[in-house]
């Protein structure tokens, strides 16, 4: 599954990551899988402020994923 990171998560993990995943899979399961692959980023990834985005829409952790989905993880945002 293709995963893209923004903000500090991209610094920690890289901009893009291919994650071997089995279906059925949810955003939350994918989050845990990446945290196992990158323990240094585990705490940041599981921060409740880190949101996931699929097909341009923000989705909750129980959102089901397909093998061809591209998932974006957004580090905590800050404008102004």
């Amino acid at each position: 599954m293709k995963v893209i990171f923004y903000g500090k998560l991209a610094d920690m993990i890289g901009r893009k990551l291919e994650v071997p995943a089995k279906i059925p899979c949810t955003v939350g399961a994918l989050r845990s899988r990446i945290a196992e692959m990158h323990p240094g980023a585990g705490q940041s990834l599981t921060d409740r402020r880190v949101r996931a985005c699929v097909l341009g829409a923000l989705v909750p952790d129980d959102h089901p994923l397909g093998l061809n989905d591209e998932v974006e993880f957004l580090a905590p945002v800050s404008g102004g």
Binding site: E72, S78, G79
Partner: protein, 152 residues
């Protein structure tokens, strides 16, 4: 009612934005604006070389538009204008212009305040300070989140 929202990759002139808003609001009675600028020192006190604002190809604009639209619906305002920078900024450069016009000053003040509280915590942008001491990501503070929560 008009809502103007722009995400700018290059420096913008906040004076020109205020003048445009004043022109749109001619006769309305009240215009309030806020301009945020890049500080000269990092949070740790080091002279700042640059502030990097990373954007998302889709969600950044969407978030700015949603926040501006919510302000226009919530307050008795006639015009809302939000201009936000992205990319590499340098000390002194404007980061954000948030302005509102209204027949009543209180609504204009509140709309500008609301816009900034939400932009600080919800605009989809990632902010990184670059100084001689390295590179640091900047996230909203507890106070920023508390001020956002005032609006429910």
């Amino acid at each position: 009612m008009s809502i103007e929202v722009r995400l700018e990759e290059c420096p913008f002139d906040p004076g020109a934005e205020l003048n445009a808003l004043l022109g749109e609001a001619a006769g309305d009675g009240a215009v309030v604006s806020f301009v945020g600028t890049v500080r000269s020192r990092s949070k740790e006190g080091h002279p700042l070389d640059a502030l990097i604002l990373e954007e998302h190809p889709l969600l950044t604009r969407q978030s700015l538009e949603e926040i501006a639209t919510a302000a226009a619906r919530r307050f008795d305002v006639s015009h809302v204008r939000v201009v936000h920078r992205c990319g590499e900024l340098h000390p002194g450069e404007p980061i954000v212009f948030a302005g509102a016009a209204s027949p009543h000053r209180r609504a204009a003040f509140e709309a500008a305040d609301y816009l900034m509280d939400r932009l600080k915590t919800e605009a989809v942008l990632w902010k990184r300070e670059q100084s001689g001491a390295g590179s640091h990501w900047i996230e909203p503070t507890g106070a920023d989140y508390r001020e956002r929560e005032r609006w429910g």
